[in-house]
Amino acid sequence: VSRSSYEGAEELGRHRNTLGYSTIVKGDVDAAMASADVVVKARYVTDPVQGVPIEPRAVVAQWQGDRVPVWTSTQVPYAARAGVAHTLQIPESHVRVVVPLLGGGFGAKCDFHFEGHVAALARAARRPVKLVFSRREEFFAVGHRREGMVIELETGARADGTLVAHRARLVLDKGAYCGEGGFFAQMAAMHALGPYVREAVFVESSLVYSNNQPSSSIRAPTAPQVCWALEQHMDELAAALGTDPVELRRRNLIEEGSVTATGQVLEQVTARETLDRAVELIGYRQELPEDEAIGVACGWWHSVVVPSGAYVRLYPDGSGTIATGAQENGTGAVMAMPTYVAAELGMKPEDFSILYQDTDAAPWDMGSCGSQTTFNSARTVIAAAVEVRDQLLDAAADKLEASRDDLELVEGTVRVKGSPDKSVTIVDLAAGGTIHGTGVADVPAPPACDARACAGTHGLESLRAPHWFTHAARVRVDRQTGVVRVLQVAAAHDCGRILNRIGADGQVYGGVVMGIGQALSEGTQLDDQGRHLNAHLTDYKLVTASDAPRIDIAWIETETPNAGPKGSKGVGEPPCVPTAGAVANAIAKVIGARVRALPMTPERVWAAKGQA
């Protein structure tokens, strides 16, 4: 892969180097396209971007007999454990992975990466071995980048704005190895559909090997790039139809009862509500100076459903511990678990400590990826708390000689409803030290769908507890220099019930700002030999405090079928998905031309303006 691969030379996907190929097929797209009144067609390319957690990777291994504890900054301790065991051909029970604290991840610390190497070196050296990456090494590291892509889109619509046909061809640069992310071809294909209804669809998505740095599941993998292209494409179609971009979306967005291109009947869809709220928050119809404009972008996301396990136990003093395999990476998803357990048991959150980030402490967990910690891990923790609750009620029913059904857990006691005097404290009930619960939560089955016409399915053809969202961005473009400044972003999201407002808002603030970086300044530049030209933070520019805009948030809270605990869905990934698309559409309005390469650097904006 070289610079030219992303600029039209089409090396990508032409060398029998495909490792994943997925299609989404509905109806006869040729016939539908031929019947359309208006057809637009465009090609977009995206540079690879990096996860860039501020804390670099660090791993220490020190053998103790035939066991090897590994301390590592990973998002996925159990995958790391399996990786060490597999690499060294030792039993998993001989590997213990501990994460002291995680200084951010954003997917760059997903998958098993370097723990096995360090454990092998420590075994050979008969001493502890430590690996710490420099910032430069972070930029080359396996799994730290998103895919660069080539995205070709063609859409046909009737004169009234109804979408009829959609054709897409995507090529994703996976790099030299595929540790994880074999499903990206299908994931990108689903985002090339986006949350819209069409009569006929043909999407073809190839995940290809290259000689580039291997990619991995960076926050909402594949989605920001594909959403950026599709949402620009929607605006191009609106221009061709002479329709307002918001009206075009409102007409075609998926709604209650819509059937996806993979045959899934959708329930509880709030795509339009997110559009309406974002447009309202940004003041879409306001008069703006001629160098400013507002763009919008919509998108969808799926909930990741995986098993996990947890224990909750009470000490004789009445305090408790939650043992979970979940990994905290700063979102607060694990830190919030004591509040859920305390609520089940009528206790206080501070009564509970958390035993976590140690594979010897708790059952398997997928880790901090897929926005799944609250959705799956908290579900299991709550299930364990419910077992503890049952044990407390049984014990209290004995002591109080009352029926279980008449009891309630309030303020550290179990008492008879309506007779607060008849009570026993949890300290008394837990005095034996044997009260403990085990959580194995039910994993909901995927909703029915029909993907028989599609190739390369990995389960993403059926969306579980889907998310809906819209961002609107107001930007200012300096026409002389091509410099873009994002002034305001309105972000409307349906992530189910919000359990921790500050934590959820924090994901949106951080996701939007990451999306702005991807939109404007972040991109790994390659030379003609495919070498990185900007493997450092001086030329790979993250958004700073003075670049970050005002961000307004709207949460659309609804009852979603198959939702996580208390009606929640995940929230970590979706907020970074539609920002670049919204920014792109605003830029196009100001300069009267499309920037078809991501990031939309001043140079590219200036060049696009010249072609207007």
Partner: protein
């Protein structure tokens, strides 16, 4: 280019004489050799090695503060029990070097590239400084309350930069806060909670 003069000094006096004669100081010199071999930088003609100067070594924690020899290594600082007990962040930083901001004489400095000699006689505040016993300083509490912390990796540097900003400008505008913090990167928060926290403390003053 080859090195023609190499002095291995054992006293500060000896090193100063060599420096006055135009020598460049080196502690170990391995980076120089690497740079020379890869053609990135030529070796200077005259070098003075300072790593044998005993008086530049050592870590001393006294009632008046902490004295670090200019040659004290990160490992020595991290391993010093007194330093760990009284200046935990410094010990942690030396062990893992994360955010380097330390406040010296009212200005934030990058502690990893700030020589102990330069700090001699200065009042140095690390991130523990503003808190007393178990009570967080108002700025720290505001970071927690308003979502200024997620993974926490940038937090020490942000707190120091914010404290310096507020000391210099007790009632900043939002733009002044954003510009004042733009030297510290955060990947988690989008800066929103951090900026709100700094402004909330400014308004409370």
């Amino acid at each position: 280019m080859t090195v023609t003069t190499f002095v291995s000094a054992t006293t500060v006096e000896e090193a100063l004489q060599a420096l006055a004669a135009g020598a460049r100081p080196v502690a170990g010199g391995t980076d120089l050799v690497v740079a020379d071999r890869s053609g990135k930088a030529a070796l200077p003609e005259s070098l003075v090695a300072i790593h044998r100067i005993a008086e530049l070594r050592g870590v001393t924690a006294g009632a008046d503060g902490l004295r670090l020899g200019a040659l004290a290594s990160h490992a020595e600082v991290a391993a010093d029990a007194e330093v760990r007990a009284r200046y935990t962040a410094l010990a942690d930083a030396c062990a893992i070097v994360g955010s380097h901001a330390t406040r010296a004489q009212g200005k934030p400095v990058n502690s990893c590239s700030y020589l102990a000699l330069q700090a001699d006689g200065s009042e140095v505040t690390t991130v523990e400084g503003p808190a007393s016993d178990d009570t967080l300083a108002p700025l720290q509490a505001a970071f927690l309350e308003l979502g200024g912390v997620q993974c926490g990796f940038c937090t020490p540097g942000m707190l120091i930069s914010a404290a310096v900003l507020l000391a210099e400008n007790p009632s900043p505008t939002e733009d002044e806060v954003r510009i004042g913090l733009s030297g510290n990167l955060c990947r988690c928060t989008g800066y929103d909670g951090i900026v709100k926290a700094v402004l909330s403390v400014a308004e409370a003053c």
